[in-house]
Subunit: 165 residues, 2 copies
DNA sequence: AATAATGGTTACAAAAGTATAACTATTAAC
DNA sequence: GTTAATAGTTATACTTTTGTAACCATTATT
């Protein structure tokens, strides 16, 4: 283990790195078997669910996805009435995407399916571990969400790419 | 909030659900811009990194990915010398996949890239929050990893799918 | 008013991921 | 020893995702 900048941060990163794959499985399973979504569309839906309405660019930033991809993802969601476009009267270039009632319901039902998968696995843990996990996961969530998803000002995935080549 | 089965578990699920998207961004960015990997190949590499050698089926189970997809993912990794096939002398049907030195190095360097992205964001947090996050993420990781990735006995994504139709 | 910058879309081509089914090789069961 | 089950691959057709570039429409700059 290196000491580098702040070993606290390095440890956190190490931990987050390990946690992520442990969370992916249930998602993948449900997306594949019990929803009409792809990873992409569900990510967009989830982001809107969490952050409210977002512009196309912002969605791209939150998900680190190029703008043209955002367009197609949103198009598919709109085709299913899960989200809708809203014009910004102040700046008519901007289009906000907002989740619809149907989108909320859909997202929640997928969430429920994923929960069922997770629950099966979590139930194998001891009461103590569940209790610790409950507190700890709460803390992780609350702190991570504090981080300003900064890159959403200077970030434009596709142009960022261009700069690099 | 419903009370349902065990509200502890429900809370945990709710938290994990929120955490996941917060972790995805840096991965996606690095995969796209600073590696030759796709989501799939990096997931396989990461799984092997964490669990040691696994059979093809086990990889599919851990990632909830159909067997033919595992084959193509592993093929690509092998082409780059990042993993290798090992025969099981006891059962010659089974092929174990093991990460190579080069694979380890590659994984670690990607990890480092992702860490840099994460670090930028984590540094915006207060010392207290970092300290809490450090402990909490450690706990989450340690407990989640305790869960036997059970479905790897009765789970065979492709046949599981068949049963459902 | 002309020019540049920004937010989004459109249009391809290429790579990646998925589902399904058929297939080989090996092991297990009867 | 024949049959069934398991582990993995191959084949194919299809959908998603990506990269790149050109393209509107609108706003900002001068």
């Amino acid at each position: 283990m290196k000491e580098e900048t702040g070993s606290n941060i390095d440890l956190i990163i190490e931990n987050l790195f390990s946690i992520k794959p442990l969370l992916s499985k249930d998602y993948t399973k449900v997306i594949r078997n019990k929803s009409n979504h792809t990873h992409g569309t569900l990510l967009v839906l989830g982001t809107l669910h969490n952050y409210g309405k977002l512009s196309m660019s912002e969605i791209g930033c939150y998900l680190a996805v190029p703008k043209p991809t955002v367009t197609t993802l949103v198009d598919r969601l709109i085709a299913d009435d899960l989200v809708e476009r809203l014009n910004d009267p102040a700046d008519r270039r901007i289009i906000y995407i907002q989740i619809t009632k149907k989108g909320m319901d859909d997202y929640n039902s997928i969430k429920k399916e994923i929960s069922l998968e997770m629950k099966e696995r979590l139930q194998l843990l001891s009461k103590e571990n569940l209790s610790i996990l409950s507190t700890a996961s709460q803390q992780v969530k609350e702190i991570l969400i504090l981080i300003p998803s900064d890159p959403c000002h200077p970030c434009n995935p596709s142009t960022e790419n261009l700069n690099k080549k």
